[in-house]
Symmetry: D2
Subunit: 365 residues, 4 copies
């Protein structure tokens, strides 16, 4: 158990390295009878893909995948669904410049010390290349959730100091209208300009993503340790470069009074809703039927062009210089990853919830 | 599996309700041979205890516990360590005023809908009373960590808009010098004043806690889904009233450039450290030997005195009025809970880490 | 994780020692809304109880239990159901005679070496006293299964060389008609005579239990590692003194031909059944709707009166002499334990099975 | 979670179908730094391979595997080790004869009912082809165990009524000297003759395998539910066609007296051993340092040539006739599968055991 598995009933295990044979996923517990939409998976992978625009890394990666198991005559059989993306080019490019050095704020040092060995080619297992597998796992879960009327939409709401005005009404259909994936075109332009400027400096910049889950049934989640927002938080914090997670009112709640923060219930023509949604759709760890909302903070990418002080594997002072192509900001490509991890958590908890009440188990009770 | 278990090798399961027989914990996987310091557990429970000061709830709770199993002649045996706190007074106080109503921003509505039944007395299982069991689990883990030279210190760094100046050097020995548990006396006074004012209004206020883990070995944690900060995040988000979690630079990373955010390595007389610690002691999900640092955001307590609009179980409009004693702000009592959950995560990952490298498994390799 | 938890969605954790404060269980994932029948639990405990007849140990144990959590107004709430049996007499009886000795074929030596410490009083955690907690967990599961039309009946089918003739038609209502729990009175008498004779010799004898599960729906279980019979096997083998498990044809299958062993399907008025049931109700790890059948082999109890060669904790030769009261044969008291572990496995898999097919998850598909 | 994962710290997940793209395994938690011996893995796969002799199925299967991840410069990195065997020939052979029929004592009926869909080609996921992945997982574990001085040897000890005399001293080096994998040449010849005769009849026959684990350290395993023999039992029972498991004295214990069954301890020049080994190397679920011994019973293969009564998917009477090539007896090919599953269990528990005692965790205690 080295941390490469996630979920209980809808359980994913990912494997593979940045510059090894490829990246893969095994999904155990995918409900049977799903007509697998491979085109949908592929289109989600395109949203995560390097080289998709001028503000992301120009590195080339293959996104063509092969379904290795779990599908028969186009439908999932209930057997493990294994999907593999073969890396196109695993030629040992010249990594000698970082082979014995620890790049600042990468996982080089910690992996070396923990395992005593490190695949230094492009970060190996610690590379964000691994998230391609998550997008596959999420795209499968999303197909099921959409049939249930549940939709998940994430978008970029901050890059550096450029922040989307929270008063702007969001139109989710516009998220992919621009290369930064911010649904407000003016803000998007500012974000793109900022990233373009940062990129010219050989530097990188942080950003934030907001996520909204609509169509949630009431009662999904669990009390105590597996609270729905705790599971979502773990899922988001497990994404490379994430530094923070907040849901509903989040860190703003720190300065709020209870009288302002409490979400009053109301009965709207037979549907129970709350007048406000500072709870972010979750109360006591369980969904209340309102939209689930959360924010995810991403640090600036650690790979930069300017020279940096560091040490080598023998503890000697050295200089690390970035020469590879890298993302000046991760958020445009991280949007589908956030959505995918959210989909995996939500589907898993929906499956678990089906065994909660005796009345649902015993017919004629 | 209804979410009441946490951890892999050091695994806790809690049970009990606010106004039932009591609250308990089973710790499975506690290393054998620990001379259990019950006084230490008791002192940690005192720090979480209601009624400990004028700024917390004046409700009375019993904190006397009984070790039900797992200890022989004062030492842990490796068998499950079960500890139970019997509720002192479970007389059915009059809860008829909330029995059929859903209190805003509590778990009343979601529990009712999920389970079809709800122990409404004092919140039942959703009550923060459950966290007493976590403090026990943490106090046991802490005893082991301290022997390893690992120390965990949490303190209040914000209440409403009163925020501890981040430039102030913290002296952990002063955390418990005041009733708010902020180690800077002037800021603490302001916080206490604010809470006192809020309390008079029958209202509540949010707050934040900072946590610092020192003495960490390098290499603790896991890649991909079980990253050390993802596990810490889940642990913190599972605490009642928590709305957000950030580690290292956290949400501030959003506005930072990579050139400023990267933590340059340096060799200080043979010890590898980083010049800054925006990574918060964790890189790629694995500890790098620097202090682990994180912040936790708490919402204002949902129980307030003023009347609030709500609905009853039949969906009819109703008014909810607080009459019980409640905390005007949770953070002073949440400090030991944050430390406890951190201790549980760290110990669990230290235990898991022992099987990572072949060289540690095979003698004479 | 020290092996004291069993199950996935219906998950039990047991704790406690033979001569400590008591024995307990936490059931996490018990469906909500079950009117808990405490009298039923108590009656099952009576079937496992020492002192119930002349052929079992005359030791006295308390079987009165206290429900510590998870029930409100008589019904399960979905919160952890914790139940505790307090040991009546934990006075430190004189165990000095075995304190430093390793009794042959007990767990004394292995516990001492694994943990470096051992609660030697009555076997501590390794005592069969632990199985009282399992009977509670099984009696709760059984209440749910009975509502689903599933019944589980175990009985003694062998003691020493006295074996129940497999051609005899079994009437489950007669199982508890005699103190050995063999539903055929003549065979039962022979078994009782044999045990009585063995007991006079201060010796012990092995035995076997057959279990039958009727009313099974088709499709319960899982392929590959969690095959239903593999889970049942693990459950049975985890019971103290069990040495073997076989289902359906079991070890007899070794000598059979496929043409004789295959269970031909037939359609009996619309119901699919098999003409024979060598499969024991399970094919490919999944229930086929026929009765599930299995046998469990128990070794003779290790505690005997005659002097035995052994060693002490320093490796010196010593003599161990039994003086305590012990069971001459475990099977009469093991019947409810076998049924309980079976109930726990079956309910757990029924809960898991509810999330298997997309068509059951999406309404109107 | 559909049952395709096994183990806690050394955790395997298998995927793939008999006539799909191939069969694969992900090993998460393989210790880092192991120089992976691919030739050893390949040689173990050869022992499981169809077509290896005249008494096994003449079907052709590919056993060439590709390491997809987890190895760098020949050594395991601690990242998931994924290995895939591509099926050589997945042309849709004509399976129309069984497409709509349920073959007796296969998993056709139960899979169809559970999942609502079934990959009928060669049994799909329920095919024993899946065990090739287990052999890979076992061969990796075995490489580590051998370095620890632990050896695992399984051999055929019964085919039909031909049983290896238990008084014969076994020489493990002779196991692979004959095609049945029975280390006693005369008995082996009789077994081969029997299988040859059965094969000519188009029928099949059951068999049994004995397994011996030597070099075990004391203290491996867990009390209560995860007893070492319970884990071994589950592992064995999860292998296709297994009907029973017994360890040490096994079912023979049923007829034994305690005075004969107890294993007296003795100190042999400083090494604690037992004079007999009816315990099978495990007491109280924990290894005692003696050899671990167990037997596994296999049923006759369900695929036979003669016509059998059955039903089709609409419940109509039909006739099933075997035409494919099949094994007349599974045991010769099952020997490496038994060894593999044993290796996986033992390594997993050795890894878990490393965190048991405080004294091993805290230096200088």
């Amino acid at each position: 158990m080295a941390g490469n598995t996630f979920g209980t009933l809808y359980r994913i295990t990912t494997f593979g390295e940045s510059h090894g044979k490829g990246i893969g996923i095994v999904i155990d517990g995918c409900p049977s009878g799903l007509e697998l939409d491979e085109a949908y998976i592929f289109s989600e992978l395109q949203r995560r893909k390097p080289g998709q625009s001028k503000i992301v890394t120009q590195r080339h990666e293959n996104e063509e995948f092969e379904v290795l198991s779990g599908v028969f005559e186009g439908k999932t059989t209930g057997a493990p669904l294994a999907i593999f993306i073969r890396n196109q080019d695993q030629r040992s490019k010249d990594y000698s410049h970082i082979m014995d050095k620890y790049r600042p704020s990468h996982a080089d040092y910690t992996y070396s010390k923990k395992y005593g060995i490190r695949d230094y080619r492009g970060g190996g297992r610690s590379s964000a290349r691994e998230t391609a597998a998550r997008v596959i796992g999420g795209a499968v879960a999303m197909q099921i959730l959409l049939k249930m009327g549940i939709d998940i939409n994430a978008y970029v709401n901050q890059v550096g100091n450029i922040k989307l005005d929270s008063n702007i009404k969001i139109d989710y259909t516009k998220i992919d209208d621009n290369i930064i994936r911010c649904p407000h075109s003016e803000t998007a332009s500012q974000m793109i300009d900022l990233i373009t400027k940062i990129k010219k400096q050989g530097d990188t910049i942080g950003g934030a993503i907001h996520c909204n889950i609509s169509g949630m049934p009431v009662g999904v989640g669990a009390p105590v340790f597996d609270k729905l927002h705790a599971e979502l938080g773990k899922a988001m914090l497990s994404i490379n470069a994430v530094k923070g997670f907040e849901f509903g009112s989040g860190f703003d709640a720190v300065t709020m009074k209870g009288s302002a923060h409490n979400d009053a219930f109301e009965n709207k023509d037979g549907k129970i809703t709350t007048k406000t949604n500072f709870s972010g759709g979750i109360q006591g760890g369980i969904s209340n039927g309102m939209d689930i909302t959360f924010n995810v903070a991403f640090k600036p990418v650690a790979t930069i062009i300017p020279a940096q002080d560091s040490i080598d594997k023998d503890g000697n002072d050295t200089i690390v210089t970035g020469k590879g192509r890298h993302d000046p900001c991760v958020v445009p490509r991280a949007v589908p990853i956030v959505e995918s991890m959210a989909a995996i958590v939500i589907l898993d908890h929906i499956l678990i919830d089906r065994s909660t009440r005796l009345v649902d188990l015993v017919s004629g009770l």
